[in-house]
């Protein structure tokens, strides 16, 4: 990607060197908080306006965003190409189900509290990511990309073979409810009413996902701007230099792979919650944990701008969100044929739009949406209003 995308934003700690000094509530800070407030409102209010279908699209986007953040850390920041996300999603989802549900005939379950199961899933995927170190710290570039593809096949195979854990391809196994201190996220009943507003299941799932995404985002952003991020970018650019400066390259490579795996594992848990079902795929080319999904994640982080955490979310909105949104807007439309051998059905149309969107992004903004955002910000900063609001001294 273009140079710009690969640059981390200047580290937060360095702000003091840019002369903003004082630290009081200057206009820039106010502006920043204002922007955050607007985003928070935009993200948190949809449950009150949108229908369940649309909320599901939103939830799905957030799953993609969490996974994509993990991948952008690994691929964008640390330069390790990985297609193994579906594998870790699958493992995360499976672990959550195994830990969180009761033992049943033909199905292993530990019946742990669901929150514990959630963290267990993250821990297990992180550990597995670490266990892949012999490959992830030795193999590089495209070779690593295809090597990680092996894991997708392993997931497919294990999902089929190990049905006591996965539930088998035929039926899968239901997701345990996420019980957040008495709040049943996934159960249809009871509906909770707060301040006269009904919180249906889709509302609850949406808000819980938003919370997870927020935490995932903040952690990643902090790491990127801080010490780990510097090490990642350093090994991406020159391993020997990084190592001569005191970075344990093998360890950092293994660690970032594990972190990325944990993100994927979390996305896997969310996936299971979204479907309320864990179901291994029947084939490697179609399904929830398939190669198509691996490529979709790659597309997200590239569209978003390699290495950019915010961009990963934007990329997820496009890649995971667009098809759903199109389905809902044009799904039953008469404009498209639904019969006949060669009809352009909404599904095909959606694929065209998706493909075209990818091409357009690369052609017109090779730095991804993150670069576009930066550019808009720069343009805004040059306007009268922008310069007053954004100038560090608020002058």
């Amino acid at each position: 990607m273009s140079d710009e995308t690969l640059t981390a934003d200047p580290p937060a700690e360095s702000a003091s060197h840019r002369g903003s000094g004082g630290g009081g509530l200057d206009r820039a800070t106010m502006f920043r908080w204002g922007v955050r407030l607007v985003i928070a409102i935009l993200v948190l209010t949809p449950p009150f306006y949108f229908e369940p279908s649309w909320l599901r699209v939103g939830q799905y986007v957030m799953i993609g965003a969490v996974g994509a953040i993990g991948l952008t850390l690994l691929t964008g920041q640390a330069g390790q190409l990985s297609l193994a996300h579906p594998f870790f999603m699958f493992v995360g989802g499976t672990t959550y189900c195994v830990l969180g549900s009761e033992d049943a005939p033909g199905r292993v379950g530990f019946g742990l509290p669901s929150l514990l199961a959630l963290f267990g899933a993250i821990a297990v995927t992180a550990a597995l990511g670490l266990a892949f170190a012999p490959v992830s710290s030795r193999v590089r570039g495209v070779y690593l990309g295809v090597a990680t593809l092996a894991l997708v096949y392993v997931a497919l195979y294990l999902g089929q073979q190990w049905s006591s854990l996965s539930g088998g391809t035929a039926r899968g196994r239901p997701s345990p409810d996420l019980n957040l201190f008495g709040l049943h996220t996934l159960k249809a009943e009871p509906e909770i009413t707060i301040f006269g507003t009904e919180f249906q299941r889709e509302h609850r799932v949406y808000l819980v996902f938003a919370l997870i995404l927020l935490i995932a985002y903040l952690l990643a952003q902090g790491a990127v701007r801080g010490r780990p991020g510097r090490a990642w970018r350093a090994i991406r650019d020159s391993e020997s230099a990084a190592s001569a400066l005191g970075v344990n390259v093998k360890r950092v490579r293994a660690e970032v792979f594990a972190i990325s795996s944990a993100y994927a594992g979390l996305a896997g848990v969310m996936t299971v919650m979204w479907y309320r079902l864990l179901k291994p795929d029947e084939s490697e080319f179609a399904g929830t944990y398939s190669i198509v999904v691996a490529i979709a994640f790659l597309a997200m982080i590239l569209i978003g701008g390699l290495g950019s955490v915010g961009g990963a979310i934007a990329g997820a909105a496009l890649v995971f969100g667009l098809p759903g949104m199109l389905t809902l807007t044009i799904g039953g439309s008469e404009m498209f044929g639904t019969s006949g051998a060669h009809a352009i059905t909404p599904t095909i149309f959606t694929a065209f739009v998706y493909g075209a969107a990818i091409i357009l992004v690369v052609l017109f903004e090779p730095g991804g949406l993150a670069a576009l955002g930066r550019r808009l910000k720069m343009t805004f900063a040059r306007t009268q209003l922008g310069s007053t609001l954004l100038s560090p001294k608020g002058s």
């Binding site: 140079d3 710009e4 690969l6 640059t7 981390a8 200047p10 580290p11 937060a12 700690e13 360095s14 003091s16 060197h17 840019r18 903040l218 952690l219 990643a220 952003q221 902090g222 790491a223 701007r225 801080g226 010490r227 780990p228 991020g229 510097r230 090490a231 970018r233 350093a234 991406r236 650019d237 020159s238 020997s240 230099a241 990084a242 190592s243 001569a244 400066l245 005191g246 970075v247 344990n248 390259v249 660690e255 972190i259």
Partner: protein, 256 residues
Amino acid sequence: MATSALAVENVALSFGGVKALDQVSFSVAPGTIHALIGPNGAGKSTCFNVISGVYRADSGVVRVNGNDVTGLRPHQLATRGLGRSFQNLALSMHSTVLDNVMLARHSRTRGGFLASGVRWPAMVAEQRKHTARAVEICEFLGIERLLHAPVGGLSYGDAKRVDIARALATEPEVLLLDEPAAGMNAGETAEVAELIKVVREALDISILLVEHDMTLVMGVADRITVLDFGKVVADGTPAEVRNDPEVIRAYLGEQD
């Protein structure tokens, strides 16, 4: 005799048929500037690579402050007070200058994914302290204006300064500089020479220097070792080396 800051003893390394280093021995006395010179391909950078753990020598021993460090990995050496710059600028071209320099503080600071992620206050405070130091070093090298510029857009000479700043930022006891003045004109080279001296004085460290600019070498070095075809062919004070006929023949050429 005080233990030397850095000692290379009978180090040999060959690549295929090429003997890049052939029983090389020399030592750097504490607090001195020691130059390593020799024709192109003589094995100077290879020697640096062996000292800093990038290459593993076929035989021989490397000591830092008297301790045997042979075979340690580069990052282990970095934490033992060995800092180095690179002949061909191994910088992160897409990162900012400050980012590049801060990397050198990696092993001196704590803070993994979670601590950085939640911006653990103790960690943030520590990072701030180290950032201030990184900025101080950049000011010292005269690149403070470029702190937030991506390295990729710098001119060659400025990039070279970033590389030196980064080596300094590891807070080394022994500093290895590989051609720090390459790509600089006479005035800038004099500036670098001055900086090297200041560094030695202010930080009280030992410096091993590879450089082809004789004005610089002769001006700053306390002692010089000359390599040719992987062998030490001369070792002495600048004055001795300058007049060594073997050195003139192999390296300096007929000066006018």
